[in-house]
Amino acid sequence: MRLLTVDDLRTTFRTDDGPVGAVDGVSLSVDAGQVLGIVGESGCGKSALSLSIMGLLPKSATITGSIRLGEQELVGLAGSELRQLRGDDMAMIFQDPMTSLNPVMRIGEQLIEAIRLHQRVSKAEARRLAVDGLAAVGIPSPEDRMRAYPLELSGGMRQRVMIAMALLNRPRLLIADEPTTALDVTTQAQILELMRELRREVDAAIVLITHDLGVVAELCDEVAVMYAGRIVERAPVAELFAHPQHPYTWGLLASLPGRSGAEERLYQIPGTPPSLLHPPAGCRFAPRCAFAMDACRTDPAPLLTATARAGSAVACRLDQTTRDREGVRLSGTEAER
């Protein structure tokens, strides 16, 4: 069942230097039970996209286009209606568990608040639900943890609390924004394992925002690659890693230190991402792209169109043969098998 449909979403921030188009015509959809990964580097607009969906943008931002949760249109919804959906039908997990919990409130108080904002239950009942929620995310002695303050818990435990809090009201859509980035590698493995278990149990659509292609490979069904406010490629996860279609994706894959052999030089994408204040005309990746043709720099950027590969779409002028050939060559996928 299609749960989230985003159509031609544009999110623009008003700044002193002029408007910044952080999200510039993004369309995507996620089904219930599916995990969509959104990958990109800092400043590509992936966080602005997730905040747009949640309706958590600052006042300086305006959005156009359409975001539908089930049948309900979210763009243009009144603040109070959106608020009722937030934390109930759609929930969010943030990057830094050290700062995302209120330092002067007990864990229990924060969990109970999340429940009672959306469910008409007694305090005692909410408390019982909160303890169950903590137990479900693998927190030992949850009764005791209810009385703890955030600073008494480790980073991994705090992230579990955040996950428990997001799941308390059984959301239909869960957005996880870099949920493991701030954690140590063994803690990250614990949280990834927890999320893998939970995705089987909760039948929610999950949008996973990350810069880490490793996390994508571990957890996602589908992937959308974002660059400078736009989705440049979208594919089922296996396809993306086996037959990447966009030159930017090739660059991302090739620059992963773990993928190429230790002897050869690490592939690097030249230059840096463009400023969204004055994005390049034409394809936004063209200035850094080794394959850019004149048309790429002058003509309007290509739209996301289906490729010959099943379920995948790319916004690039290169022909299919070149894309297949160069993708495999550059991103070193074949060599690794």
Partner: protein, 341 residues
């Protein structure tokens, strides 16, 4: 927590000790050496003879070495005047009569009173003024600060910044005089000066309203600024975003999540300001003829009433130290990060 409290109290006692020593040295040897003012000469009245001065010296114990004098000053501060001194200063009077003449802080040169009784007479005025002003400035500044922070750069915010600038830059004596001239003298809305005890609450408030407003306006300016900047900081914290993501309404987000964190430094500042003001708001008290501790200090200094001046300094120091300890305790109870250090 108990350990923390004990450490703070011991620290406070140490600070008070240092202040007593400083006060003793300043008002004793330094005064004598610098201005050739001897307490005995002052106490002995106009144009005293050498013999009179010597008698007074013995009466006040000023003939003893300095360390003995300081030791006794400390002892008197803690335990009250010794029997020996009582007999020297007020021979033949009853204990109650003698208490009026001699106290822990010694006795005044200018009046036949103990410094203690002078302080206790004038302190309620300062206490009342501070209390009324504090309530006024909190009620004014915290809502303004919060609203400014919620809508930065709005018209409201800009007006409040102007208010802050005016409040901070107007000298309180000048502004006080303007207020007196227009509101009290020209319009007659407020009394020109004086204080009424709390036993008559209406008159009490009526007499305090104008001076407290002037004082409050000055402090409100500072508190608007700190509330605004603290709120701006906390409103951009991740946990505030988390609260919004939970679906909490804006009021709940602002009050329960943001303000609860933003008020911690405000509480600290408030405690310290209260301590400072309780030692006497000199300018306001003098401008409005309120006979509080600040007013008393000015009077005492004018008359070279050394024991009274020293007593007020010491009393203020004790209040400030106590305020510091209270602030720490309140902060620890509000903020688990301090409590669980």
């Amino acid at each position: 927590m108990v350990r923390f409290l004990i450490r703070r109290i011991l620290g406070g006692i140490f600070v008070v000790l240092v202040v007593t020593l400083a006060v003793f040295v300043l008002f004793g040897p330094v005064l004598r050496w610098h201005s050739n003012i001897s307490p005995a000469r002052l106490y002995a009245g106009k144009n005293p003879s050498a013999e009179q001065i010597e008698r007074v010296s013995a009466l006040l114990g000023l003939d003893k070495p300095y360390y003995v004098q300081y030791g006794y000053t400390l002892k008197r501060l803690v335990l009250g005047p010794s029997q020996d001194e009582r007999e020297r200063v007020c021979p033949g009077s009853t204990a109650a009569e003698c208490d009026q003449l001699l106290g822990r802080f010694g006795s005044s040169f200018a009046k036949q009173r103990s410094v203690d009784s002078l302080i206790w007479d004038h302190f309620p005025v300062t206490l009342s003024l501070t209390f009324v002003a504090a309530i006024m400035w909190l009620l004014i500044s915290i809502p303004i600060g919060i609203i400014s922070a919620i809508r930065p750069r709005s018209l409201f915010d800009r007006v409040s910044i102007v208010f802050v600038l005016i409040g901070q830059s107007l000298p309180v004596y000048y502004f006080g005089l303007l207020a007196l001239y227009f509101l009290a003298y020209k319009l007659g809305w407020f009394p020109l000066s004086g204080y009424e005890p709390l036993s008559n609450p209406g008159q009490w408030l009526y007499h305090l309203l104008l001076p407290a407003s002037v004082l409050a306006l000055q402090f409100a300016a500072i508190y608007v600024r700190i509330t605004r900047s603290q709120m701006l900081d906390t409103l951009s914290e991740d946990y505030v975003r988390t609260a919004r993501a939970k679906g909490a309404g804006e009021t709940r987000v602002v009050i329960r999540h943001a303000f609860r964190n933003a008020m911690l430094p405000i509480v600290t500042m408030f405690g310290l300001d209260l301590g400072l003001l309780l030692g006497g708001a000199i300018l306001i008290e003098v401008t409005f003829g309120l006979q509080g501790l600040g007013w008393l200090a000015v009077q005492a200094a004018k008359r070279l009433d050394v024991p009274t001046t020293a007593g007020i300094v010491l009393f203020s120091a004790i209040i400030i130290v106590a305020a510091n300890i209270v602030v720490d305790l309140v902060n620890a109870s509000l903020d688990p990060r301090i409590r669980l250090e």
